[in-house]
Symmetry: C2
Subunit: 318 residues, 2 copies
DNA sequence: CTGAAAGCGCTAACAC
DNA sequence: GTGTTAGCGCTTTCAG
């Protein structure tokens, strides 16, 4: 019917009078179009998937505060453009298929995967996709913070405070360009003597690491620690302070993300802030322009970072 | 075709031999059924919506750590039963329609709404639904922690430590039976002299409240504070300690939820723990049994609570 | 136990 | 401008 044209905003193919008449009827009848039927006929679902890694235990979806913040922003941005979000934990390429093809998703955003994992997921070729915080995935869009700049900022902040015995910790053993660029930026500013220590991005791993590092700090061999995530930094501080060390008097600790928890912990975390809301918005935009065809080639965007100095960093001890 | 029967596990209507043949073909061809077509023909989508309130700003979906944890558990439980989750922020009844009817959702779970808000959302009658942490919504299933028991536990813990000048804070001005039951339980254990102070469930509101309460603490008029959420308790502690008070030496602070952040803050939060993973699982179960028709009547379930004593509570000052 | 036929609600060509 | 015609990919009666 002509109705379809009205519903789809195909003005110009219908007289204003008729359009008005149809719209009134729609309102009166409380008509809501059926998405399944629309999908089937139009090969467009207005559905996008947010794919996250399923950890070993099941509640671990959204374990990272950073991912949570981005997720909220993605949903909002999508909603404002009349799209819906399907939240799905995936671990295998098969599960990706199960979601993407089964629901004919218009596109997907991937978050929380390492470069290797993204590759293993084998995204269907041609599917509009944006990967957050990784750089693999083939011809897809990417969003991440300006990690080199973030590392640089971190290094400058710490060396500016007089620190010379520095350490950076994070998931350095994974295939993550994000991490390697932060390390690289940090080294550019802080010199090659920077130690690199592998740690998972969890609070508990931070505590363990802090405990392990305590002797070196006490011996004066280490005065500043840069963690690639706030949650890790928070754990490190705990491990350190539990062993009688003072932050920042004995040792400075710098985080990354400026998650909410940065303000919750004591001392309040100095951190490299990235605008996660913006990150989510950009991810949605990049995906939408791929879906609508506005963009032919997937773009990539770097989110600006800034130093937020709070209480966990201070001058190097004398 | 016969194929449909195989795919739908309609054994008994097809010979084992044929079934095997079909399954091999499916595997070989990499066939994935089309959800839209299935929905259209079978009036069953295997899609459930998780509806959350859209705050004023857009990133605030999932602002509460508690909600995040439950969300992860719901997604996992649904996934294990071959259902998918649609994450959607809603503020008006119209938006609910837009999601529920448009996508023919098999069911919805509502979380983060007050009783009034749930009512205003006007869930379509007959739609399988479970509301988390509220009690309104008509004939739908409910999941919440055993709030009376939680309040009681809190009161007993604090009075057991010798506290007699107590205060409870939380969103007491909203239409939330959850909050009123916690208050009631607390009063049962701690007596009627308990002060009640309204506060939103945010860190910043906690800080403000802590600041406001500092004089009373210093004067010895208040020695223990029970907050209806960890994040609020964390803020209160900050407000207090920023004004030179010591927790728990000068004043005890008790939280609710046992969110991750309870371990991050200093001092570590004593709190009423509820198993959010279980909560999400139960929510999914309750919904699924309504969807499948296993259950005719919506049930409600209370999640057990337990006291987790850490460092933020201690004996009443002398 | 297996196949044929109709239709779920909508869009998109194409005539009128 | 407006109505008509086929399907989109599947499930489901209902005959073979």
């Amino acid at each position: 019917m002509t109705v379809s044209n009205v519903v789809n905003g195909n003005r110009g193919r219908v007289s204003p009078a008729t359009a008005a008449r149809v719209e009134r009827a729609i309102a009166d009848l409380g008509y809501v179009p059926n998405a399944a039927a629309q999908s089937l006929a139009a090969r467009r679902t207005r559905l996008v998937g947010l794919l996250l890694p399923t950890g070993s235990d099941d509640a671990s979806l959204l374990a990272s505060p950073h991912d949570v913040a981005v997720t909220g922003a993605v949903e909002a941005a999508l909603r404002h453009r009349d799209h819906h979000l399907m939240l799905r934990g995936v671990g295998t390429a098969r599960q990706v298929q199960d979601s993407v093809r089964r629901w004919s998703l218009d596109g997907v955003v991937l978050m929380g995967f390492t470069d290797d994992e993204v590759g293993a997921l084998a995204l269907p070729a041609g599917l509009p996709a944006v990967v957050v915080d990784a750089t693999a995935g083939g011809p897809v869009a990417h969003v991440r913070s300006d990690d080199r700049a973030g590392g640089l900022l971190a290094g400058e902040h710490l060396t500016g405070l007089g620190h010379t015995r520095l350490l950076i910790c994070g998931p350095t053993e994974t295939t993550s360009r994000v991490v390697s660029e932060r390390v690289e930026g940090f080294r550019t500013a802080a010199g090659d003597r920077v130690q690199v220590v592998a740690a998972q991005t969890t609070y508990d791993d931070g505590v363990v690491l802090g405990t392990r590092l305590a002797p070196a700090v006490r011996a004066g061999d280490l005065t500043a620690i840069f963690a690639t995530a706030d949650i890790l930094a928070a754990g490190v501080i705990r491990g350190l302070t539990d062993h009688g060390l003072r932050v920042p008097e004995d040792v400075s600790v710098l985080g990354y993300d400026d998650a909410d928890l940065a303000r919750y912990v004591t001392p309040r975390l100095s951190t490299i802030a990235q605008d996660t809301t913006r990150k989510g918005q950009v991810a949605a935009e990049l995906l939408l322009e791929l879906i609508t065809g506005e963009a032919t080639e997937p773009r990539s965007e770097l989110i600006d970072v800034a130093l937020t100095a709070r209480e966990s960093t201070g001058p190097a001890p004398a």
